[in-house]
């Protein structure tokens, strides 16, 4: 139960997009492999040098006094169970923009949904949104085409 809450928090902060989720999975797998190693390749050294600082901090806090292996397995499962909301947009969003979109998704759709952002300048603005196999086009390109068609 505790692990579940902790893993959700880690995922919410470090796996907001598909790219972040893939990176986090790779880091978790690196840490998993280090569990059975000793010396400079052990878990603590790998946590310090083999993953990003923010990952190291979040996982370091989470494994204190707990079962490292169980937490990593649960964390990986949590990441792998994410549902993705596809966002085809015209610009490269900075971290702040990603945060804004992710917050909106969490507040309006719920936990366990990450963003799958694809940059496509031809949409001009707005977004083409895909969720659970359904696609809706709210791009400026579509508005322009509709305007000139009508």
């Amino acid at each position: 139960m505790q692990n579940d809450k902790t893993c959700s928090e880690i995922v919410n902060s470090l796996a907001r997009t598909r790219a972040e989720a893939n990176l986090l999975v790779a880091e978790v797998e690196t840490l998993e492999r280090s569990l059975y190693k000793i010396g400079e390749a052990d878990f603590d050294h790998t946590l310090e040098t083999g993953v990003r600082a923010k990952t190291a901090y979040a996982i370091g806090q989470a494994v204190k006094g707990g079962n490292h292996s169980a937490l990593l397995i649960e964390l990986k499962a949590k990441i792998n169970s994410l549902t993705y909301l596809g966002l085809r947009i015209a610009f490269e969003p900075n971290l702040e923009a990603v945060g804004k979109f992710y917050t909106w998704v969490r507040q309006n759709i719920g936990e366990g949904v990450a963003l799958d952002i694809v940059i496509d300048k031809t949409v001009l603005g707005g977004a083409v949104i895909e969720y659970k196999g359904k696609i809706k086009n709210f791009s400026v390109l579509t508005l322009v085409n509709q305007y000139f068609t009508n």
Binding site: A90, P93, V105, V144
Partner: protein, 143 residues
């Protein structure tokens, strides 16, 4: 002594001359007796021929006029049909050209609009547009 053959020939010759003379006299008598009547009949026949000829000419003219009218009508119909066909082709060509120009103008406008929008939307506006898209998607029950 006279030759009987020669005498016979002379007799025949005289006979023929007498017959010819008789014929001429008879004709002269007939002409004198019936000349006016013959002239009258000949004149009547001439008038009759003339009338028949005039009637025939009149019929021919009438028939000719009818045929000319029919031919004129047919020619007019053919010309009208051809004119309509050409008119349709011109209209169709005109429509195609207008559509082509319309389409090209639209493409230019879309292209210009895209270029202008692509450059004029700043980061903040992009973010707002994405959030608006998410809200529209929610309103349309995508989630």
């Amino acid at each position: 002594m006279k030759n009987p053959n020669i005498e016979l020939k002379r007799a025949r010759k005289r006979g023929r001359a007498i017959v010819e003379e008789a014929k001429i006299k008879a004709l002269s008598i007939i002409v004198q007796a019936y000349g006016e009547e013959i002239q009258k009949i000949a004149a009547e026949i001439a008038v009759e021929f003339k009338n028949e000829a005039l009637l025939e000419v009149s019929r021919f003219k009438e028939e000719l006029e009818k045929r000319v009218l029919v031919t004129e009508d047919a020619a007019e119909r053919v010309l009208d049909a051809e004119f309509d066909e050409v008119k349709k082709e011109v209209q169709s060509y005109k429509q195609a050209k207008i559509s082509q120009i319309d389409s090209q103008a639209k493409e230019v406008l879309i292209d210009v609009t895209k270029k202008v929008l692509g450059k004029s939307i700043d980061l903040r506006a992009h973010e707002d547009l994405v959030i608006k898209s998410l809200e529209d998607a929610k309103r349309q029950n995508l989630f």
